[in-house]
Structure formats: C-alpha cells, structure tokens
Symmetry: C2
Subunit: 342 residues, 2 copies
DNA sequence: TTCACGAGGTATAACGCTAAACCTTCGGAG
DNA sequence: CTCCGAAGGTTTAGCGTTATACCTCGTGAA
C-alpha cells in the first residue's frame, strides 16, 4: 500500500493540507519547524504523490499520447525515422514533466481507439505517420491539443510539421544536373494528387525545367519502396533505358535496391548509372559506394513538433498551421561527375 | 469540459450510482427501462469514463511502463529489434485493456526516474535493454510486477526473457564446420564474465570442441559492433589471418562491415572468407551476398514477456525465473561450402 | 484597552468514480 | 393482515489531492 499524505499527516501530528503545502513548496503558510518535520517524515516513508489523484483535481493528466498507425502486425515504429523521432519527443516531454502514452491505432477503425484514449484526458497528442482520412477521424473523437507529423493535407487547421520534400527532390535532381546528367529517371511510388511523392516529384520537375531539360514521363518508374522493388527497378532501367545516366529514388531503401539491380544487370554504380536517394538511413553508409542522399534533421523536426504542442497546450490560440523543415543533400559516392574528362 | 456520470444522472433524473451501474453492465440492480434511458443519454452526450478517477478508486492504473535506457541522445529504441518488440508488447497489452507508458531512463541515474514513475502506480513494467546494475537500482524504487528482456544476471528473482545466445553461437559455428571450415574467427565485443557475448562465445567454443577443433585465442577479434568496426575487422582478418576461412560475427551490422572490409582488402565473400552474422536484421538481405545469420522470433519473445507480465500481475506468485527463447540459423549466401570440389 | 492583522494553521468541499449499506415498494406465503 | 424477500433503487463513504474559506493566536498601533 502506497504512502499517502494522510499517513504523513498522522505521523507528523498535523493535517493533510499542511503536508500537501509542504510537499508542493507552498510555504508562506507553514512554519519552518513544520516544514522540516514533514519533509523528514515524507523522506523516511518514501512518499510519492499520486499522479492519478492529482490529475483528478488538476483536470490535467500530464499525459501526452503518441499515436502510431498499426497495420496488422507491422506498425510505423518500424521506420527508423519515426523511432528516432519518438525518442526525441519522449525525452523533451519528459523534461517538461509530461509522460508519454504510446498507442498503436488500428488503421481500419482509428476512432475506436481514440475514444478509449479520451478516458485518459490527455493533455496533448502527437500523430505520426497517419493518412489524412485517419487524422480527421481521430481528431474528431480525441479532444486535445494536437500536432501532426508529416501530413500533406492542405486545407486544415491542424498543426503540422513536415519535411520540405519538394526541396529535397529539387536538390537531388539539381545535383545530378550539375554533375552533367540530362537523362534522369524518377523512381518512387505512384504519384498521387498530393502527398510526399508528389512533392518530391514537383521538386524533380522544377530542377529539370530550370535547367531547360525536358520532363519525360517515360523516365518515371512507379514502384513500392522496398529493397526488392529497387532491384527490379534497377534491372528494368538498365535493360530498357540504357540512355539514362542517373536516377533519383524517393527512398534510400529503394536506391540501395537499384544499385544492386544495376549491378545484377552487369552495369556499375556510379560508372554507368548515378543514384541519389532520400532519407539518409544508416543503410546509406553501409552500401558501397555509399549513397548520396537527401537528409533531414530528425531531432529538429521532433523538437519543433514538441515545441508547437507545448505551445498549444498552454495557450489556446493555435499558433501556426504548417511548419516545413529544411532538408539537405549529403554527397557521397553514388553519383558520377560527367563534367570531368571521361 | 468532459461529460461525467453526474451529467447523465441529472438528465436521466436518477442518481450517479445507477448510471455507474448501467455503464458498467451491473444490471440486476437496474430496470430495463432505466438501462435504456441511461444508455441513450450516455450515447448522446458521448460519455467516456475517466480513467484517472477509476484508477483512484480501483487502486490499479491499467498502465504498464515500458522502460528503455537513454544514453545521451541515442536510446535503445534505435535497435530495430527493440522497436519490433515494443510494437508487439503494446499491441498485446492493448488487447488486455492496458495502456503503455513509454519512458526512457537516464543511464547514469535510473532510480531518479523510476521514483517519478511510481506516482503513476503502474500495474506492471517491462525493462528492455538495461544493464544488471541498472535493473537492480530500478527494481528497488519501482514497486510493480516486472519482466525484464535480455538480462544475463544469474542469481535473481527477476522474471527474465532472453535469447538462447549460446545456441546461436553454437549453430553458427557448427554450420561453418559442417561446410568444411576449420579456422573460424570469432568477432564481437570483448568477452566479459557473463552477458550476451560470453554466451555466444560459449556456443562457438562448444561447436569447435565437439568437432575436435582447437580453440585458438588468436582468432578472437574484440571490437565494437558498428559497421565501421566491421570493415576494420574484415581488413585485419584478411591481412593478418589469411588462413582463416570463416568468421562468426556477433552482430549483422558487424558482419556486413566485415564483408565490405574483406572486399576492400581485395578478397571475396564467400569465396575467400565465409561470414555468419547474428540478429537477422533487414540489412542481412540487403547486402550481397545475402548474409547467413542467426535469427530469433521477436514476436514470440515479446509475446512471452507480456504473458509472464500479465501472469505476475494477476497472481502474486512469481511463476518462472528465466525464459530462454529459441534461435535458428537462416542460410543465405555468405558461406562457402568447402566440402564441394573446388 | 481594543482592534486589526498577519502568521500558522485547520476544516470543508470537490475532482469522478465505485463499493457497500441502506431504504422503499410490491407481490406473495404463512 | 402480517411478514418476508426481491426488485429497483438511493445514500454514504471513501480513493488521494488541492483550493478555499475559515479559525486562533499574539503583537503592535490607536
């Protein structure tokens, strides 16, 4: 049985309220002698205040939900990005005295779980990696301060922190152009109306246009972003598009696969085909040649998200609508410089 | 302001207690008419019971702590293993009506945070990836049902779920022996009195002895388990031990590095050197040749851990002391069969 | 001498919920 | 016609805290 204020009060021969005052540093109302006595007893009994009781009266739980989609067995935790992000978020919230309630959300019926979460009276929530439709469903049932990571919905009052994917696509493609490439393939998931891929594609287009190069739809390879898909894409590219000298892949995993596929087809990276990825996974430095890729500052992203969340938890005005985090290109060994003598 | 039992009672013209009975399915005490009315109103007002209030009276929080060590910026979440494990744990606990409180613990002063956690009156806790000394410190302050993942402490009353690392080392080495290798290096962290590495090493020794092969300390390479260390080790092995035809590396990351180092030294895997790893990371299938490695069933491990935890949460008797999960060898392309004609 | 005031408390109520004891009514059984 | 028990409640108390209002001194000013 846990020690309560009452226990301390009894032993100190005073009231619960006085003990509470001491524990919470509300001196002013208490004599030094009492403070000392209560302090000593609390220490001796190893008193820890009850978070639940406090939540009840304070009408604030000090709990922040971190919600991830759970698609039958493999949830988004799996992405190394999100893992790092969650780590940073947890640590920051901890510093501010908040606790993290981790919850995976069934993709088919997100609202069912958010309803359950509401019972915890969360002070805030972070959504990571959800589809827009899911976000909308959850936001409706869960009633808290809220920040979303990586949403691409336009017309919303959500606080959203996402990457500058367009710039990423642009930087990758421009880099290839600067190195003398003119036939540059775009490999990634099917391009939709809006979303990450569309953004990256827009950056790709922009770079091409800016350089006066044609945008050739034949150079767009639509595929999933797993390693195996990359291998296939690399083969295909080598076989059917021998004129292509460079690829921008929307994910490192894909890029790594492409490198292997190209090699399997008897060609070489970067001699015959240059590759730029996106994400800067650890993997990018494990492959050889090491992968030139687009990188983001995960810590900065997570930090920004928590800052925004804390802000909107403490003041009711929603401060910003969308924060777009910067990206950079990391040059490594997977791009050949065609402007040098052959 | 959240809807409470009181609100419903008012609107239904009855008492809080009756509403509580209806909400919790304690019929028997309530007429069908009342049940229906209260139900309807609760639905209409979108009532969700307060978890904090319930915790307070039930003296059980429905909260399970999942604790991870946090060593200045990069916590153990980073390991893909633990990520998967946490995912499974969360989902299982969710099914049983528990919520997960995720917490990273400063490695230097673990007890400070566990004290704070105690205020949540956790129903249980899972420790993942801690050192024995830390576990002891935390166990002392945190007073709950408890299950530990991957501890190698012997003499304890902890419930511990760990891998059969010894068997892993044994299987890897035996496989190499079966393929005709006799000079087999062991690459991994320094071997300590007890712990993962020691266990794997014991397995390695056992396989060698069993085959009547000498155990040569010169073939033990102590190193960290990062990719870069692997490269170095691969080089070193190629340069200084040309007679060695096979390596057992205690981690896939290391194994992948070794493969690269060997290649950098102008030799080939598996032609000149065979490599077996440990972990079966995704990476193992991304490298070429694909890595032969020791694998574990992460889901089984996480499941077992939660089962044990639930057990010890519900009954006070500590059921088991240590559960050792099985491992298997996955054969892929990084081992050469020397018994075939050259 | 009286009064106001501050210092150092104590008492009460409330947060939202549940367990347990306590009231009504009503329809039989004795 | 009295008493009993069941059905369908209601009341009271309590989980561990905190906010707020309320007491009781002793001191210094009027």
């Amino acid at each position: 049985m846990a020690v309560t204020l009452k226990d301390i009060a009894q032993e100190a021969g005073t009231t619960v309220m006085t003990v509470s005052n001491v524990i919470n540093g509300r001196y002013g109302k208490v004599s030094q002698a009492t403070v000392d006595k209560v302090r000593a007893i609390a220490e001796k009994l190893d008193y820890v205040p009850s978070a639940t009781a406090r939540s009840l009266v304070a009408r604030s739980s000090r709990l922040v939900g971190v919600l991830l989609p759970d698609s039958e067995g493999s949830n988004v935790l799996v992405s190394p990005h999100n893992v790092a992000v969650i780590g940073v978020i947890e640590r920051m919230l901890q510093e501010h005295g908040y606790y993290v309630l981790l919850r995976s959300i069934p993709s088919n019926d997100p609202a069912s779980v958010t309803a359950a979460l509401r019972s915890w009276n969360l002070d805030g929530a972070v959504f990571i990696g959800f589809l827009d439709s899911q976000i909308r469903a959850m936001r409706a049932t869960l009633d808290t301060a809220l920040v979303v990571l990586d949403s691409y919905e336009k017309n919303s009052e959500l606080m959203n922190v996402r990457l500058n994917d367009r710039k990423g696509g642009y930087l990758a493609t421009r880099h290839l152009i600067e190195k003398g490439h003119t036939r540059i393939a775009f490999v990634g998931p099917r391009i939709t109306e809006r979303g990450v891929v569309k953004e990256r594609y827009n950056g790709y287009r922009k770079a091409l246009r800016e350089a006066g190069l044609p945008v050739d739809d034949a150079l767009i390879v639509a595929t999933d972003v797993a390693h195996a898909n990359g291998i296939e894409a690399g083969r295909l590219l080598s076989d059917q598009h021998p004129d292509v000298t460079a690829v921008f892949a929307t994910a490192d995993l894909l890029a790594a696969g492409i490198m292997e596929g190209v090699r399997a087809a008897g060609r070489d990276v970067p001699a015959d085909l240059s590759v730029v990825g996106f994400d800067n996974l650890d993997l990018a430095t494990y492959v050889s040649p090491q992968l030139t890729t687009v990188t983001q500052d995960l810590t900065a992203k997570a930090t920004r998200a928590v800052e925004l969340l804390l802000l909107s938890m403490h003041s009711d005005g929603v401060p910003t609508n969308e924060t777009v985090m910067d990206v950079e290109l990391v040059e490594r060994g997977s791009v050949r410089d065609l402007t040098l003598a052959p």
